[in-house]
């Protein structure tokens, strides 16, 4: 029982990342009808927003500290982050410590801007072209984004720790009445899952309960008619592209403490996220979220020792295997709508 709960919990954080990226992919596909292979790169850029902010915050200048001496008796040179000069040492330390959560605020405008530029500058010209062309051009864009990041940040992963308050783990087992220390779960993963839940809930609420969301949903169902009613649907779809980029970016920002970001992390996630979208059903938002969590949890179950003993290597291929089975038995995916990209 403990093992099962533990695997479900383990699956949740990976599942959250899949669900967030797949949600963005589906938003873009459902609104603009574009297959965006650069979405993983957006996730990666989001993660590097967090890296950038923590670098900016720790920018420092050298100060000669007269009170301390080095071993030769000269005054010691100390690096002092600029932020100490603005808000004082204590507050400065807290801000640096909380760099990753703060990056959310920093990343949103950047990601929305990148989304706008991408849509207006490039994707716009590909609406009428075949899906293969869209895949190819966004694939090229993903390579470019990746290489630009590599040029500025290098190829090695850059550790970006979570705030001190979230280090350590929660003894989940004791809370549920199992033995103590049977289910240990790091706090940050819990934060990541809650964050993902809030974002997903937010996107759904936005689409469901606002007039803007209603128009967008109508546009997804029948773009032409909405346009004929005198609504500038293109503008709204561009905004949705920015939103999808921001969702991917935020997923990346919050993922940095779990895995140190490197320039190709986006591609690794992209392949899986596409599988997730297809399993969930192209164009179905709830399908993407459901499939994301489902596959994340399945993956962690497959990595249990008991399962690996009977089916060695299953943890590596379970997602693809499920995708193949789903695609062949349920052509629309789990929750796909009739008529959306069936062939």
């Amino acid at each position: 029982m403990e093992a099962i709960v533990l695997q479900i919990l383990n699956g949740l954080d990976k599942g959250s990342a899949y669900a967030l990226i797949a949600l963005g992919l589906t938003l873009i596909f459902g609104t603009l009808g574009v297959v965006n292979f650069a979405h993983g790169a957006l996730f990666m850029i989001g993660a590097f927003c967090a890296v950038t902010l923590s670098k900016i915050l720790t920018l420092s200048h050298v100060v000669i500290d007269a009170t301390k001496k080095d071993f030769l008796g000269n005054p010691l040179k100390v690096e002092v982050p600029y932020i100490y000069d603005f808000v004082g040492e204590n507050a400065g330390n807290i801000i640096i410590d909380w760099a990753v959560p703060l990056s959310i605020l920093f990343a949103i405008p950047i990601m929305v801007l990148i989304g706008f530029i991408m849509e207006r500058g490039l994707i716009k010209h590909f609406y009428k072209r075949p899906h293969a062309d869209q895949i190819l051009v966004t694939f090229g864009l993903a390579i470019v984004m990746q290489e630009v990041i590599k040029y500025f940040y290098g190829a090695n992963p850059i550790p970006t720790p979570a705030p001190e308050a979230f280090k350590g783990s929660l003894d989940f087992g004791a809370m549920l009445g199992f033995e103590a220390n049977s289910i240990i779960y790091p706090y940050w993963r819990l934060v990541y899952f809650s964050f993902a839940a809030v974002i997903i809930g937010g996107v759904f609420a936005f689409l469901q309960f606002t007039t803007f969301g209603m128009v967008v949903r109508a546009g997804m169902a029948d773009r032409e008619t909405v346009g004929l009613l005198g609504i500038n649907i293109d503008k709204r779809f561009t905004i949705m592209f920015g939103l999808a980029a921001a969702v991917a970016g935020l997923a990346g920002v919050m993922y940095t403490p779990i895995n140190s970001p490197n320039y190709h992390m986006g591609m690794d996630f992209l392949v899986l996220s596409f599988v997730v979208v297809v399993v969930g059903g192209m164009g179905s938002l709830s399908g993407a979220v459901l499939a994301g969590f489902l596959l994340g949890i399945l993956e962690s179950f497959a990595s249990m020792t008991a399962v690996l003993e009977t089916l060695p290597g299953i943890n590596q291929i379970i997602i693809y295997l499920v995708a193949i089975i789903v695609l062949l038995t349920r052509p629309r995916g789990l929750m796909g709508k009739a008529g959306v990209m069936e062939e």
Binding site: L136, G313, A323
Partner: protein, 401 residues
């Protein structure tokens, strides 16, 4: 010639000439000159040029003719490589069994993958092939380590059985050969400042490529090729006329899988080892890049694309900041620094950035690839000569396969 029409025979002859004289063509600059770093006439690179040419020709038979975009073709190349290494380990150091078995095994594997994947089309087909390739990659890396060698890869050892060969003498390392001709043997011809290298392995690979190219011309011109084009232009209409398209697409898929297997087998013949990274999806992406860059659906395009990418990958990535500085050293200091700073991100390790940008530009502006670009330029010159209007150039802009 060989049942080809005249224009195709000319094309084939050009390709034959290019491959035969490649050691000269790729080595235009004397050794020890400043430009010698642009020489590509060394065996390893020449072998890669033709082998990836074969891979891209095969991919083009699937993507260029039927429009099915496979994102998992590297899996067939990888499976072929593994099969090839095993033949070298078990049977003989002669490369013929390795190459033949590579093709057969890759063909069988692509039959299985194609039979399942081709039940869907469009993006779903791409995802299915991608899923299969990633599965093969993950399995080769983990569970199948006894067969694939896992992370270290697979290579022949002195202690291998090699039942068809006589035992190796003491201290002799196993080298791949073709009836006693070793793959990495070369004859070097020194003419003045030039050194031209004629490599056994390269010519064997080149013969395979010429044959592969000839076969692809025949497929393009056959009724079967016409049927594949019909699939690309309108599969639904084809189905309404009562034709089941799947046998045709499956045949194309298996043929292109066998081409990938041939490329894998040749890679093994040249350098007797195989690793799982050959099956990673970026490797599949690379053959897509080659085909599109050269011109999908054209005969010569994939070969050009493969040559272009492999050449620049090797040459551009070798240029470093020092070399750049010597190039611009004739300029005043400030300006030369500016140029070096501007160009530096795109060379050396930044080669992939250049490739990505180039690829995007081709997809956006030249959907027909380099071949279309060449035709456009040729059309411009023609117009100037004839003084006619742009009607001819737009007619010739369509890829004339």
């Amino acid at each position: 010639m060989f049942g080809l029409r005249k224009s195709d025979s000319v094309l084939l002859l050009i390709v034959i000439a290019l491959t035969v004289f490649a050691p000269f063509i790729l080595n235009p600059f004397p050794e020890n000159s400043v430009m010698a770093q642009f020489n590509a006439g060394y065996p390893d690179l020449m072998q890669r040029l033709v082998i990836f040419g074969i891979f891209a020709i095969g991919f083009n038979i699937l993507f260029g003719l039927t429009g099915y975009l496979s994102f998992g073709h590297a899996a067939f190349l990888g499976v072929g490589s593994y099969a090839g290494v095993w033949m070298i380990k078990l049977l003989t150091l002669n490369v013929i069994p390795a190459i033949v078995v590579s093709v057969i095994v890759a063909g069988a594997f692509s039959l299985l993958v194609g039979w399942i994947s081709l039940r869907r089309s469009g993006i779903y087909f791409s995802i299915l092939t991608l899923a299969f390739a990633q599965m093969s990659y993950a399995l080769a890396y983990s569970v199948l380590t006894p067969i694939t060698g896992g992370e270290t890869g697979l290579q022949p050892k002195v202690a291998d059985p090699r039942i068809l060969d006589a035992a190796l003498e003491e201290g002799v390392t196993p080298r791949a050969n073709l009836f006693g001709m070793f793959m990495n043997d070369s004859y070097e011809m020194v003419v003045g400042g030039w050194i031209f290298t004629f490599n056994v392995g390269y010519y064997i690979a080149a013969i395979c490529m010429v044959f592969a190219f000839y076969l692809s011309i025949r497929i393009f011109r056959s009724p079967f090729g016409l049927m594949l084009r019909a699939v690309k232009s309108n599969q639904q209409r084809l189905n309404y006329t009562g034709i089941e398209s799947k046998p045709y697409t499956l045949a194309a898929f298996v043929i292109s899988g066998m081409y990938a297997g041939l490329a894998g087998g040749l890679l093994v013949a040249m350098d007797t080892q195989a690793g799982a990274e050959r099956m990673f999806w970026t490797a599949s992406g690379e053959v897509v890049l080659m085909t599109i860059l050269g011109g999908a659906g054209t005969l010569i395009g994939p070969v050009l694309g493969a040559g272009f990418i492999k050449y620049f990958e090797n040459i551009v990535s070798k240029i470093n900041a020092n070399i750049l500085e010597t190039w611009f050293s004739f300029m005043p200091d400030g300006i030369s620094d500016l140029f070096v700073g501007l160009i530096y991100p795109f060379i050396g390790k930044g080669w992939h950035l250049t490739l990505g940008i180039l690829f995007m530009l081709v997809v956006i502006f030249l959907p027909g690839g380099l071949v279309q670009g060449g035709q456009k330029i040729a059309g411009m010159f023609k117009n100037k000569k004839d003084g006619s209007d742009s009607a001819t150039s737009s007619a010739s802009a369509a890829p004339a396969e």
